[in-house]
């Protein structure tokens, strides 16, 4: 199992979805074999299910619109947007179509659509191929937004989103997670990994770097930044700092209970998001924690996010903008002292 990557989990899930759900179809650019999609999540699918995997022109708006039509008419379409940066082109289809139909038609239809897309920088792709634009769609009513971390079972989340979820789902995959080994409960000797809410399709994971007692600090984050945690949490354990990380798979609607519960135990909270700072996921998380815990917090919540500018192509400039391990560590020290 040590070779089981985030990417593999998604690939297997896509196969399982098409094998089990005869209403599932897949649309996207360059998704046919032998290429199998820019990040290979759809690899092998078109060979095995040639009738249900449709490679498309470069028409993001129409692709999502077509999937909307399919979903309204009873299929379970999965759209791949090649880079998350291009989701802007489908914004109208997401905001004014997919997310609206059910409520607008007085709940007489559903739109079981899933849009998968890779977000995030760190690979030198430059300003239009590196963003974490999920923030644009947080706060859009009736849209479910999911971004599993490497502590999740991302394939299972995807399976549930496609096969069982009647709402439109934006499914965020961070580019840097694809080649990352999953760390599931029970698997990692140095960290204690728990599932907070085992009953839901998109659980929140807890990752502790200590065995018993209460955390000194709670780290709330999601998706791509999870890749920084194994090393960071191990190092902090060596410094005898007890950290509990709270990682929801569900960004919206926000599952706040685990965050509040853990934050309350530590009284010190760091919220980290991969995207640029301001008006984002970490803003809402932090404010909700403030609202619930108020004076029980021992220090102001520290928020960490990318610098509010374009993501440069070149290595050093890019690293300056994006969230790195050191930024998180620094925030942890800040709330501790």
């Amino acid at each position: 199992m040590s070779e089981f990557l985030y990417l593999h989990s998604l690939q297997q899930a896509m196969h399982r979805i098409l094998a089990e759900d005869e209403r599932a179809v897949v649309l996207g650019e360059d998704i046919l074999d032998p290429y199998g999609g820019a990040f290979k999540v759809t690899s092998g699918l078109s060979t095995r299910f040639p009738e249900r995997v449709w490679t498309t022109p470069i028409s993001e708006a129409a692709i999502v619109g077509i999937a909307n039509g399919m979903a309204l008419r009873g299929l379970h379409p999965v759209v791949e947007i090649m880079f998350g940066d291009f989701i802007t082109l489908a914004a109208d289809q997401i905001v004014n179509h997919a997310a609206k139909f059910a409520a607008m038609y007085n709940n007489r239809v559903s739109v079981p659509l899933v849009i998968r897309t890779p977000m995030g920088g760190g690979r030198g792709y430059g300003p239009t191929h590196s963003q974490s634009l999920e923030k644009l769609f947080l706060g859009v009513p009736h849209l479910t937004v999911i971004a599993p971390s490497l502590f999740h079972d991302p394939g299972e989340c995807l399976y549930q989103a496609v096969v069982r979820d009647p709402t439109p789902v934006l499914f965020i995959e961070h580019k840097l997670l694809y080649p990352t080994r999953l760390l599931r409960p029970g698997e990692h000797t140095a960290l204690r990994i728990e599932t907070w809410d085992t009953a839901t399709a998109y659980p929140t994971m807890l990752v502790h770097n200590y065995e018993r007692g209460e955390p000194d600090v709670v780290l709330i984050t999601y998706g791509g930044t999870s890749r920084l945690l194994p090393e960071l949490l191990r190092d902090l354990r060596d410094e005898e700092i007890r950290v509990s990380a709270v990682l929801p798979a569900l960004l919206q609607p926000l599952p706040i209970e685990a965050m509040v519960e853990l934050a309350g135990r530590a009284g010190r909270v760091v919220v980290v998001e991969d995207g640029v700072e301001g008006f984002g996921w970490s803003s809402e998380v932090a404010v909700r924690v403030y609202e619930r815990l108020g004076k029980a917090l021992h220090a102001p919540i520290a928020r960490v996010a990318a610098r509010p500018t374009v993501i440069p192509a070149s290595a050093l400039l890019e690293a300056e903008v994006l969230v790195g391990r050191d930024d998180i560590e620094q925030a942890i020290w800040q709330v501790l002292y």
Binding site: A62, G65, I66, N68, D92, N96, F101, M104, N106, V109
Partner: protein, 312 residues
């Protein structure tokens, strides 16, 4: 019976019956729209209302060429005509537009956002066009035999997603009928001020078969639509049906800034009157009375409904 074949098989007697039925449908749309404008001016409707006055031959001609039992319709902000031709639910429509509890969408959608059975509308110009393509793909995939029709205006041909959709519909051989109603204006903009070239040719480079016609004669529209539907269903390919029509009323409830002479000239060619003039007086009068009574009754019934969201 499949409506597609109605015209070619009907006898003279049936043809007369059909004419009366088309007249009933067109007149129902006309009366409902006139009532809605009146109710609007009386404060019974808020927001906006885009009426279909003058375009009735398009909806009635096209929708009667469909199989209402299975085909799918996507429409836009000016949807009352398509809605009524499809399902004849006068009360559900009027209640929705008037924000009453019995509206087809419970008062949430309102005039621009309607849904009933296989009909869906939305208020974003062009946005529903790819949905129609997706619907056609879904029905083809399910093997239902249904085709999908999408109505769009001349102005809406300004939206890029329409061309993305034309390309994919043709590339994937999908059974979708694009019906363009060129009613000469997009809001205040004459189509010549918004478009370069001949609008009826916009689907050509995508290798989509097209037809263009004057839509003042409901039978002409119906014949062309029936042929188009037969092609779309039979060949499993898209078709682009371009209808020249004219909006006799204002864009929405507001001022109408067009040249009154121009409007008068088109009013003289009103497709409803044109059809009316061909009808036997007795049958015609009966239809008129029935429609008037029905609409009046419905207005009263809707006004008696509680407002949507009112505590019972």
């Amino acid at each position: 019976m499949n409506a597609t074949s109605l015209l070619s098989t009907v006898s003279g007697q049936d043809q007369a019956t059909l004419a009366l039925e088309f007249y009933r449908q067109m007149l129902t749309i006309r009366r409902v729209e006139e009532e809605l404008l009146r109710l609007f001016s009386q404060g019974h409707i808020r927001g906006t209302v885009h009426t279909y006055l003058g375009q009735e031959a398009c909806a009635v001609g096209v929708v009667n060429a469909l199989d209402r039992g299975k085909d799918v319709i996507f429409s836009n902000h000016r949807a009352h005509g398509h809605f009524l031709a499809y399902c004849d639910d006068v009360e559900g429509l009027m209640a929705e537009v008037m924000g009453r509890a019995g509206g087809v969408c419970g008062g949430v959608g309102g005039t621009q956002h309607l849904h009933k059975r296989n009909l869906y509308t939305n208020g974003i110009q062009g946005g529903i066009v790819p949905l129609a393509v997706g619907s056609a793909a879904a029905e083809k995939f399910k093997g239902s035999g249904a085709i999908t029709v999408v109505f769009l205006g001349d102005g809406t041909l300004g939206q890029g997603v329409v061309y993305e959709s034309l390309n994919i519909a043709s590339l994937w051989s999908l059974p979708v009928l694009f019906v363009v109603e060129n009613n000469h204006y997009a809001q205040t903009t004459p189509y010549q001020m918004a478009h370069a070239g001949d609008l009826s040719r916009r689907a050509r480079p995508f290798d989509i078969r097209s037809a263009a016609l004057q839509a003042d004669d409901v039978f002409r529209v119906h014949t062309a639509a029936a042929e188009a539907v037969e092609y779309v269903r039979g060949e499993g390919k898209p078709f682009f049906l371009y209808l020249e029509t004219y909006r006799l009323g204002p864009h929405s409830k507001g001022d109408d800034l067009r040249d009154p002479e121009e409007i008068a000239a088109y009013r003289a060619r009103d497709p409803l009157i044109k059809l009316r003039n061909t009808l036997p007086p007795a049958g015609r009068d009966a239809v008129e009375q029935a429609v008037s009574e029905r609409v009046a009754r419905t207005v009263a019934a809707v006004l008696a409904q509680p407002l949507a969201g009112a505590n019972p």
